[in-house]
Symmetry: C2
Subunit: 87 residues, 2 copies
């Protein structure tokens, strides 16, 4: 395998990651609709912290836990924006 072969693998994995991130956002939007129907706040800081702590515990590397925390802080912020959008 040469560099171009590994890059092709990375490109394939990246597209799957984008697909899964979008699926995650769709689920967050479903939660947003349910919260809206119940009159609940979109933001749930305890749940947000739990998600990040659980994923850091799940992570076996090589990606660092600090990167996991940074990425999920951004992912959760985007989910919160999308949850807050009215259907």
């Amino acid at each position: 395998m040469d560099i171009s072969d590994w890059r092709a693998r990375i490109d394939t994995v990246d597209q799957i990651i984008i697909d899964l991130l979008n699926r995650r956002m769709n689920y967050a939007q479903e939660i947003g609709h349910l919260k809206d129907a119940k009159g609940q706040q979109v933001r749930d800081p305890r749940r947000e912290r739990e998600v990040i702590e659980r994923l850091k515990a799940y992570n076996q590397g090589p990606i660092g836990d600090e990167a996991i925390a940074d990425l999920y802080t951004r992912i959760i912020a985007e989910a919160r924006n999308l949850e807050g959008e009215k259907p």
Copy 2:
């Protein structure tokens, strides 16, 4: 489906995302070894920009392109760190 059901789905997707991110980092480390053997620099800003532009073009939403760019800037930074580590 209630909020807890959607959250369980999110948790499952998140674990798969972490697995794929780690797989991506393993591939990046393979590239790092090949570059090291060839005496090439780890950083390749043109490739980094291309990755982000291609993924923004691939993205169909609901996640925003700005979030894609932010996330991949962080992912590529982590890959670069790991590529630079000697085996």
